[in-house]
């Protein structure tokens, strides 16, 4: 039996720009044009300086692994275990972290370099996913 993956809402006024950019294989984050504070998760107002002059900025697509968990107990029919949730900080703005999903339980280490790739789902939704730039050779099989 096939179950549908969980999809992000595409028309939220604060966050749609992030997923729209993904359709063009572009990774973006929100930032303040006045004080350069990053605004993640995305929002229209800068709480740091009070400016409304905020915009999307393009990220390089490189990052570093901050933390992770390998999920062994399944809670959703479309998300078979094991899989690993990774938390990645952007190379361009390390205070901006994004979430990705890896299959299985790969060997990981904090600070390892990660690269974004874009996963296109059946309905056309595009999710930014992350994978290690270099796989760790030794250790258990993934």
């Amino acid at each position: 039996m096939n179950f549908d993956r969980i999809l992000p809402i595409m028309n939220d006024r604060d966050t749609a720009g992030f997923f729209e950019a993904c359709k063009n294989k572009t990774l973006v984050y929100r930032a303040c044009q006045s004080c350069n504070a990053t605004l993640n998760p995305p929002r229209a107002h800068c709480g740091n300086c009070g400016s409304w002059d905020t915009a999307w900025r393009e990220a390089s697509g490189r990052g570093r692994l901050y933390s992770w968990t390998t999920v062994c107990h399944q809670v959703h029919p479309a998300y078979g275990v094991p899989y690993t949730v990774v938390i990645v900080e952007l190379e361009d703005a390390p205070e901006v972290r994004l979430v990705g999903q890896l299959n299985g339980s790969p060997d990981l280490c904090a600070g390892m370099e990660m690269q974004v790739w874009f996963e296109t789902l059946e309905d056309g939704t595009v999710l930014p996913q992350w994978e290690p730039v270099e796989k760790i050779q030794q250790g258990k099989e993934s």
């Binding site: 179950f3 549908d4 993956r5 969980i6 999809l7 992000p8 809402i9 595409m10 028309n11 939220d12 604060d14 966050t15 992030f18 997923f19 993640n40 998760p41 929002r43 901050y66 933390s67 992770w68 968990t69 390998t70 999920v71 062994c72 107990h73 809670v75 959703h76 029919p77 479309a78 998300y79 899989y83 949730v85 938390i87 205070e95 901006v96 972290r97 994004l98 979430v99 990705g100 999903q101 339980s105 904090a110 999710l127 996913q129």
Partner: protein, 402 residues
């Protein structure tokens, strides 16, 4: 952390908890959450020597399915002058005590009932993910939930979120699974002495802990709290009025709530985007609480620390100043938090082993300690720290023997 001698709104010891009540804790209560809330509330009022007619204030938790209206009707409360609500979720109970104090000291109520009721095993299981994940909704997020950044990537439960925090603590400080295990065992030992605890008859040793199945690395089955059907309630009044209640009142020394320095919105998942996920809002709660109490961590005799997971306790041991940042693991492993240790914690068994009443059973157990009738009674204990959920904000109270 040195305690400043300030009580900025003059509340020290001016209100007291005069009644506590609980249902049994089970996997299937076979009755409604309203019935459970009514039973626990009636028991708390009887414990105080009061009746529903004496209650003029109710503060509820925003996650409770029982409304003010339901409980007023069910209990037969006739003259309610104050209705409050606090949250989110597990942050509720200690913040509810704070709001009761505020209502009483401002003259809006004299006798305030607090309750938390849930069929957490037989009806709504938190462990199965957020409502949107459970319902296999096609589309999630929006409206400031930010769920769209997490659920599609498979991050969908509190346990997974705390696992990411635990992993990061291991990265930064070398914390070990055995140290987390010592926390689970400390709670279990307390439950083994508490006949009302769900894990009363089930001992836990390190070998069993390490052999238990992994739920989400690095957290195992016994790092996770229980899922419980049950309810707890407490009655708060002014210390002046408390002189004619049935049992000796337990003084509310100080109350506090707090936020993280970099709030990231949403409810739970956006915390993984915070500057440091090993720094809890409890740091700011502790600073405010100790200053208001005129007490420091060295003057706390026993603590009831909110334990949705073992790692929650470890992080709070650091945040509430019982050890240095990063030292929570060795501190837990030293035996300090166990029965007979320097700072016994969760003396009824906590969420890990007594039952999961979303922080309210911690308040009830704190009162038992200050009355001197806990199954894990700490000799000569005069102060008890009780904490609320560690995310996304925080709350805590210090109780004192009268």
């Amino acid at each position: 952390m040195p305690a400043r001698q300030t009580d900025d709104f003059g509340h020290q010891d001016r209100c007291a908890i005069v009644g506590i009540g609980s249902t049994e804790f089970s996997r299937n209560s076979e009755r409604s959450v309203l019935t459970l809330a009514t039973e626990a509330s009636a028991a708390a009022l009887a414990d105080a020597g009061l009746s529903p007619k004496d209650v003029d204030g109710i503060v509820r938790c925003d996650h409770d399915h029982v409304t003010h209206n339901d409980l007023v009707c069910s209990l037969g409360i006739a003259n309610l002058t104050y209705q409050g609500q606090v949250g989110p979720g597990g942050v509720g109970p200690c913040a509810m005590v704070g709001q009761a104090v505020a209502a009483i000291l401002s003259g809006q109520a004299t006798t305030v009932l607090l309750y938390r009721s849930l069929n957490g095993r037989s009806e709504v299981r938190f462990g199965s993910g957020t409502a949107s994940a459970r319902d296999a909704a096609v589309t999630v997020g929006g409206q400031g939930t930010y769920d769209e950044f997490f659920l599609p990537f498979g991050l969908m439960t509190a346990g997974q979120t705390f696992s990411i925090m635990a992993q990061r603590h291991m990265i930064e400080y070398g914390t070990t699974c055995e140290q987390l295990g010592s926390i689970a065992i400390a709670c279990r030992e307390q439950a083994n002495a508490n006949p009302a605890a769900q894990m009363h008859s089930k001992p836990l040793d390190m070998q069993t802990y390490l052999a238990s199945r992994m739920i989400s690395t690095p957290l195992r089955l016994y790092d996770y709290c229980l899922e419980t059907d049950g309810a707890c309630a407490v009655v708060v009044t002014s210390t002046d009025r408390a002189s004619d209640t049935r049992k000796s009142p337990v003084l509310i020394r100080a109350v506090a709530q707090g936020c993280p320095p970099d709030m990231r919105g949403g409810m739970m998942f956006p915390i993984v985007m915070r500057d440091s996920i090993t720094d809890l809002p409890a740091y700011s709660v502790a600073s405010t609480l100790y200053a208001r109490a005129g007490l420091g961590p060295d003057e706390i005799d026993v603590a009831q620390l909110y334990d949705c997971f073992s790692i929650s306790i470890l992080l709070q041991l650091e945040a509430y100043g019982f050890c240095e940042k990063g030292e929570g693991g060795p501190f837990a492993e030293s035996g300090a938090i166990h029965r007979g240790g320097a700072l016994p914690i969760n003396t009824g068994g906590g969420h890990l082993s007594e039952g999961y009443i979303h922080g309210m059973n911690h308040v009830v157990e704190g009162v038992r300690q200050m009355r001197g009738d806990s199954s894990g009674q700490v000799p000569h204990a005069e102060t008890c720290l009780v904490t609320g959920g560690p995310l996304p904000t925080g709350s805590a109270v210090i109780l004192r023997k009268s």
